[in-house]
């Protein structure tokens, strides 16, 4: 008890600097935890990019039907069929991959009957699923049967489908819905019931030509981008559908000009030259992105190491000042019956208390930030312990060197 009460009295000495040190280490713990999380995420993103890009590039495909091209298409007797042929060729050619997929806003009615507008949906294709390796954590993934539109009435025609479409939900909806639940949805391509058949694996992503980067599907409704039809659809519906299906992404190992030439050659053969254009040449920014990501990762590492060093130096300096300032106090304790071992315990006890309280508060703050963050962080305590150990060891080393360097017994002759 005496040691404890004397230890508390010792802690109170230089309390302002102690609080500063505790705050400094708290900041270190929080920053290192989040730096490492960001680093981890950046590394995951980097890995994803490497995996997704491989040696190819993503391009966007847009229709170009105005002036001559529009006249050419309009003059065709069955222009919808031509658009469908273009789609077939895009999906089946062996020169590049056509990855049909679009982000669309939908409206839907949830289980409680509440209507939500502008919800994120993603319309995918079998090629898209394969390329990005989309899979489910629960239920089943969309398969060929889901891409057949059995009763294709949609609100573009002002009618509601009596059939159901199968959908897969992003991971964020797992707590709110069950497999087999149906949701009422409204979109230009489909209005009717959507039955949930599965939940995507957390962290599923696809490439977007709009954002020129990867987008997470965690908060998306994933719809099948219909490929075949068992019923008769109106011309206007089919035209809208193919305008959308033919405005998607290309993944190729050729240059944007080469891909453009391939498409021009094909569309010319159909009598609609210049009907489509290729854009968003990712080959220009991809290396820049990779370099930037490398720089960011390096920067984060540097910040984490820098902050840790700063805290270690602060703690070392603090102990240096405090031990020097307290030498006479230690001497008084020795004269009064303390052993040198008890004094050492007091000095190291302070390091331990400072480190543990800083780590505890730092961890608490990290959890509070995490809970109030829109991103989902998986905080690992070990991440915070590593800098704490480094800082604590440096501090303890400084204390040990100083205590061994100074002769406490002579300190009583020094002026206070």
């Amino acid at each position: 008890m005496t040691i404890l009460s004397e230890f508390l009295a010792y802690m109170k000495r230089s309390i302002i600097i102690t609080i500063f040190i505790v705050c400094s280490i708290i900041s270190t713990v929080v920053l290192v935890i989040f730096s490492s999380l960001m680093l981890h995420e950046a590394q995951l993103d980097f890995d994803k990019y490497k995996e997704v890009y491989d040696e190819g590039k993503f391009y966007g495909l847009g229709d170009n039907f105005f002036d001559e091209a529009e006249k050419a298409l309009g003059s065709k007797k069955d222009h919808v069929k031509i658009l469908a042929e273009v789609n077939d060729w895009l999906r089946s050619n062996d020169k590049f991959e056509y990855l049909e997929g679009r982000q669309e806003y939908i409206s839907y009615v949830d289980k409680s009957g509440q209507t939500h507008n502008s919800a994120d949906s993603y319309w995918t294709s079998p090629e898209d699923i394969k390329h990005f390796g989309l899979g489910v954590a629960k239920g089943r993934m969309l398969d060929e049967r889901d891409f057949v539109h059995t009763q294709g009435m949609a609100n573009v025609t002002g009618a509601r489908s009596e059939d159901e479409v199968s959908i897969v939900m992003g991971d964020a909806f797992r707590d709110d819905y069950e497999i087999g639940d149906t949701i009422e949805v409204y979109h230009i391509l489909y209005a009717g019931k959507a039955r949930i058949v599965g939940f995507l694996e957390k962290g599923s992503y696809v490439y977007s030509v709009l954002t020129k980067g990867l987008i997470s599907l965690d908060d998306h409704f994933v719809f099948p981008f219909f490929n075949s039809f068992s019923g008769n659809e109106s011309d206007i519906y089919m035209r809208v559908l193919y305008y959308q299906k033919n405005n998607s992404r290309i993944y190729a190992k050729y240059s944007v000009d080469d891909v453009q030439d391939m498409i021009n050659e094909y569309t010319s053969s159909l009598g609609i030259p210049g009907g489509y254009f290729v854009f968003a040449s990712t080959h220009q920014w991809q290396p820049v992105f990779a370099k930037n990501l490398d720089d960011i990762v390096g920067g984060i590492k540097g910040i984490a190491v820098g902050i840790s060093l700063f805290s270690a130096l602060s703690l070392g300096l603090y102990l240096f000042v405090k031990i020097r300032k307290s030498l006479k106090y230690y001497g008084i304790l020795l004269l009064n019956g303390f052993s040198s071992r008890q004094i050492m315990m007091m000095i190291f006890g302070e390091v331990v208390v400072v480190m543990l309280s800083s780590f505890g508060i730092g961890l608490l703050i990290s959890y509070v930030i995490k809970d109030n963050s829109y991103r989902e962080y998986d905080i690992n305590m070990l991440t915070g312990i590593i800098p704490m150990l480094v800082i604590g060891l440096v501090g303890a080393l400084v204390a040990l060197i100083l205590v061994n360097k100074y002769d406490i017994s002579t300190s009583l002759r020094e002026e206070n």
Binding site: T2, Y329, L335, N336, G337, L412, R413, N416
Partner: protein, 223 residues
């Protein structure tokens, strides 16, 4: 014989060089005796005092307390010996400034795990003995040098030591206060305690029963 030192040697390393501070020192002190340790600066007076007080280990030699050999190689043995038998008085009093007189005297008693009631009785008794009964709530900074040294003596006495080591106990005091302190130390000897005083002052030394003079780099035997 309360204290018996035989052939004590002590050296320090400074800038890689070994400096012999004490080279064979013998000393005996009896109960009720007041011994002065004098000598020029660097002669090792304080080092000897620290060795006797168990604060510093000697390189070699033997130390007997009440006829019992103290293991000078063991920090634990030295700590125990210091804790139970030695009281210290130093030139600048070694009081903790942010604690009251009462709390300063209470510190060694708390370290020795004395219960509150016993602590309180002892503190009041030594304060009365030192003429400081009205000062128990005062802080050291509010007191004169003489009063502070009396608090330091009271604190040393509180643990009822057999041996009192005083390092320049009057060094910071005027003549009148020095006289008071020396009289108090003499009274302690009269109560069968042994007092060893390190001093530069001939007046102080002359009030002791014996004077031992130390010289640099010379093997010292009790004179």
């Amino acid at each position: 014989m309360v204290l018996d030192l035989r052939n004590i040697k002590k050296s320090y390393k400074k800038h890689g060089r070994k400096i012999e501070v004490i080279n064979g020192f013998d000393l005996t002190v009896r109960r009720g005796e007041m011994v002065a340790l004098m000598g020029e600066s660097g002669a090792g007076k304080s080092t000897i005092l620290n060795i006797i007080g168990g604060l510093v280990k000697a390189d070699s030699g033997e130390m007997f307390f009440e006829g019992e050999k103290i293991d000078m190689t063991s920090k634990k043995a030295l700590n125990l010996y210091r804790k139970h038998h030695v009281g210290f008085i130093v030139q600048d009093f070694a009081l903790i400034k942010d604690r009251t007189v009462y709390e300063n005297i209470e510190l060694p008693l708390k370290i020795r795990k004395k219960p509150f009631k016993e602590r309180d009785t002892i503190i009041k008794s030594v304060l009365l003995e030192m003429g400081l009964s009205t000062e128990e709530k005062s802080y050291p900074s509010m007191m004169s040098g003489g009063e502070q040294q009396r608090v330091a003596i009271a604190r040393a006495l509180a643990i009822e030591p057999d041996l009192i080591l005083a390092d320049e106990p009057t060094g910071s005091l005027d003549e009148d206060n020095a006289e008071v302190i020396m009289n108090l130390l003499r009274e302690l000897c009269d109560k069968d305690k042994a007092v060893l005083i390190v001093t530069h002052s001939k007046e102080v030394a002359n009030k002791c029963d014996r004077i031992i003079k130390l010289k640099k780099d010379t093997p010292l035997k009790e004179g």
